[in-house]
Symmetry: C2
Subunit: 278 residues, 2 copies
């Protein structure tokens, strides 16, 4: 079977960090916190803090030995009724498709599960961990969701600790149901848009075109991929663009590193945590 990532934030606008003074990209170097000397990769070891400032040292290969062997298979443990699934455990979704070999078995699994109204609990090694996955029929194929480990999911008891054990009934409940009835809608993913992403895209576009952005204009929400397309088109127009000076010797290195470019604008964390809503 082949796994395809079903959800990914890779379409987001990606930035690199630059040095304002030179326009060059920035890279990070690891230095000793006491001596300030650079620490090469082969001198970096893992430390488990036993007590304040006391560490047990673990060598890279010792940690690597703990990684489970991957036989690249997906082993089904059991089939469970779809009604029993606790979605709190859901981690990431992957589409599952058959490879050349297992097409018949794949279709049998899909249709058998669909007919019985069950999902499969399976295990597979994914990124160094043995992951439990939940497999369900999904359209023409299957969808596998990795499940959080038991220790990762908190009990709701604490959160609902001082919840009154009271049930609403009678007229009040009818009123609530009426209000709910007036706001019926449907699950429409096209409304799940990302205004921050749109605003950042608009900002970049304005910069490229040499415009200044009106303060706090409400950005038009649209698919970032459309905006990326627009950005690419705008790019030719040119504006305040910084071209880093580079030495001939470094030209290749720099080009290679562009691939590593990573997403996401981190600006100031304007979000102070405790927030009241609702």
């Amino acid at each position: 079977m082949a796994l395809y990532t079903a959800a990914s934030s890779s379409e987001r606008i990606a930035f690199n960090t630059l040095n304002r003074k030179t326009g060059n990209r920035v890279k990070r170097e690891f230095i000793d916190s006491e001596t300030g000397d650079p620490v090469e990769r082969e001198d970096q070891v893992k430390g488990y803090e036993v007590e304040n400032g006391q560490y047990v040292v673990l060598e890279t290969d010792e940690v690597a030995a703990a990684i489970p062997d991957s036989d690249k298979t997906l082993k089904i443990d059991a089939f469970i009724p779809c009604s029993q699934i606790d979605t709190t455990y859901f981690d990431k979704p992957y589409y599952l498709a058959p490879d050349k070999m297992g097409r018949d078995a794949f279709l049998l699994l899909r249709d058998g599960m669909k007919k019985q109204g069950v999902a499969a609990i399976a295990r597979t090694v994914l990124f160094r961990r043995v992951r439990t996955v939940l497999i369900r029929a999904h359209g023409k194929g299957l969808i596998a969701s990795t499940l959080n480990f038991d220790y990762e999911v908190r009990s709701s008891e604490e959160a609902f600790d001082d919840m009154p054990d009271m049930k609403i009934g009678g007229e009040m409940l009818e009123l609530a149901e009426h209000i709910i009835g007036t706001k019926k809608g449907s699950f429409d993913a096209s409304t799940f848009d990302d205004r921050y992403e749109a605003a950042v895209a608009e900002l970049v576009k304005a910069k490229i075109e040499g415009r200044s952005l009106p303060k706090r204009q409400a950005p038009v929400a649209s698919r970032p991929s459309d905006l990326l397309q627009a950005l690419r088109e705008s790019a030719g127009i040119g504006a305040k663009v910084t071209k880093p000076k580079r030495t001939a010797a470094n030209a290749n290195r720099g080009a290679g590193r562009q691939k590593a470019a990573k997403p996401a604008a981190k600006a100031k964390q304007a979000q102070a945590p405790p927030r009241r809503a609702g």
Copy 2:
């Protein structure tokens, strides 16, 4: 309303990187990729790569201006039938509990939704983005799942591109259903254990106790939190523990940084501090 993280990997064993030669912790410094000079935080700006090596510069405050204002509320857009929900969009789960003020409204919402078999689609600002969340009744309270943005979820079309449009029927399907029937189980989160985590915990424990670990022993799968407890108990026994040398001048800084240390041996948080969103 208050939001409580329902799933977190914070109970995992966390390491710090050490310099093998000195036993000191390592920290990272940002340096200019061409000149090699350190780049201070205030000189770090975002660059959007327009073309190979050409960047549009975005200042931190410009990017920050794109962050939506948070009025700290949770606005319900609509109620949708639970049957319509596409779990491919699920991102992270949060428990929702009422604050002092809104207890009645909370219970009305919970019981009204439960009775009608619907979930609420709402919006709130979470970590700089306006997020769409799906709210459902869950035990005594509510659970809110952030939903992936539309552009983050891939169409399954590509993955299921060359899936034969064939349906299994008759005897073969019956056989499949029979096999499924023989492997019926239940959704049991206690079996969702993390063998890698357990093996790493065992490795650390062995190190602390001065044992050497048998090669590739099959680690006993148990809750990492139990293992962490065991580690704490072992810690007194002492073994090969590295104590970083520190200068008097750095003692305070070092102590301060310990807080920053991801508490590997973190005792279970009595109660996760609620993020207020309500």
